[in-house]
Subunit: 274 residues, 2 copies
């Protein structure tokens, strides 16, 4: 099996994103290894030793995705026996010509606390996380005026992970409100507290079979988890979404990253962080 | 101001990561626009119209970072008047030679719900998020056996955002435990419930001034937020970390991404997701 190394003098998050995107095009089983904060020559030499050892152990050349600010350290890394890819390197010159300015590489600028010298954007993400936590699961409805978006859905349709992702990744204040049996499922209406916030609401739904599986992990054999109950709740909630013209998404086949990106694409939500 | 477009027939997360890393090398104020799920020719033509309109409005050529699986759609996008960068394109051929196989591009493989055909890795991330939420702020200490890591620190030192990030991004079950006045700060000991879990503990700390600022936003003028109290608590907790040989990190200058990456680099925590 190939060993894939993601190496950087910073977090290596960029090297990981780059490598993951490249590898997604090849149907290949691999072993991943991240070596982050390789910021001294001796650490770089240890990294090279690890790469070469993986090469010997597996008999296959490791593949290395790396992003270094320091040319010295980059030189050490590329002296390994693996196959090295550095996407920054290739694109810097053309982008520099296009922008009419020289590159000024600096460690940790991509995932650091300051974005273009501004700390506010980072703080707004942390504030959004705190907001989303405090407004998870229908708590604190008095704060809905501050929400950027309110996710609506029956229990276990992915509201919480999605709202936390929106907050952490984009700095979006995402509240979420669960529809439960208290909301009278037989004649489901948009809860009163949400009526004034209608423009902020986004609905989530799932296929009944998937919801049944997820709920069964929680309370196996219960009425709550039964396929019949799941089917009923989802049917009622989707009927309400349509009647109230609430945009909604069936998240069965989507990851939290995809759900979040689809919500952003379908609404006019402004990101507070890029 | 330059307009930067991130465009893809999927989430555009890869295009964003690529563009952000490239732009981090240039001290430049820009406006960001993401156009995700551009998966039909008419959407691609609308995207081109937006790019060309931004060009006319600003008088500066927009910069486009794009990743498309469909060659047709890619051709439409690159017909715009902006400056286009596609990193996948350039690296596919050499990586294909190295791996000895042809690329098999497929939309949404990078950020989709299946990772190399396996859904388990995705589900383990959602499970980790649920775990971290249930074990936030010292609740549920009976579940600590299942924790991959337990973050320790005084109030407002970044435990919660860090544990949620570890869960969402890496599928790591991260509990967190706050040290409060109940723990007798004058003679701070490692709480009893944590003694058996010592090998899982990682401490967070901050500079007193920063903690004072953060707490002041919450309870301005309180003893809790005073610089004196912050200084005292941090001093006591760091003393305990040293005495108990608990690894710790001063997170003052780091983003949640950096804190998480540093924790992974300093511990032997295994990621459940790449």
């Amino acid at each position: 099996m190939r060993t894939i190394f993601y190496i950087s003098d910073g977090t290596a998050l960029t090297a990981e994103a780059f490598g993951r995107a490249m590898l997604s095009m090849f149907p290949l089983k691999v072993e991943h290894k991240t070596l982050a904060f390789i910021d001294t020559e001796s650490k770089a030499q240890q990294a090279v030793a690890k790469i070469n050892a993986a090469h010997e152990a597996t008999g296959e050349r490791p593949v290395i995705f790396h992003t270094f600010v320091s040319l010295e350290l980059k030189r050490v890394i590329t002296s390994c026996t693996g196959s090295c890819y550095d996407f920054l390197d290739y694109f810097v010159a053309p982008l520099s010509r296009e922008l009419g300015m020289d590159a000024q590489p600096k460690t940790n600028r991509t995932h650091g606390i300051e974005e273009n010298g501004v700390r506010d954007s980072y703080d707004s993400r942390i504030e959004a996380v705190n907001y989303s936590l405090a407004n998870d699961d229908g708590s604190n409805i008095s704060d809905y005026d501050q929400a950027d978006i309110i996710l609506l859905g029956v229990s276990r349709t992915g509201k919480t992970p999605t709202s936390l992702y929106l907050a952490l990744h984009y700095g979006i204040k995402a509240a979420n409100y669960p529809l439960t049996e208290d909301d009278n499922m037989e004649n489901l209406q948009l809860p009163k507290v949400l009526k004034q916030q209608r423009h902020k609401i986004f609905g989530l739904t799932l296929e009944p079979q998937r919801l049944h599986e997820i709920r069964s992990k929680r309370r196996e054999g219960s009425r709550y988890a039964s396929l019949q109950q799941c089917r009923f709740e989802l049917q009622e909630v989707e009927k309400m979404y349509r009647r109230e013209a609430i945009p909604f998404l069936d998240s069965t086949r989507f990851s939290v990253e995809e759900i979040a990106a689809k919500i952003l694409a379908e609404t006019n939500l402004e990101r507070h962080h890029y």
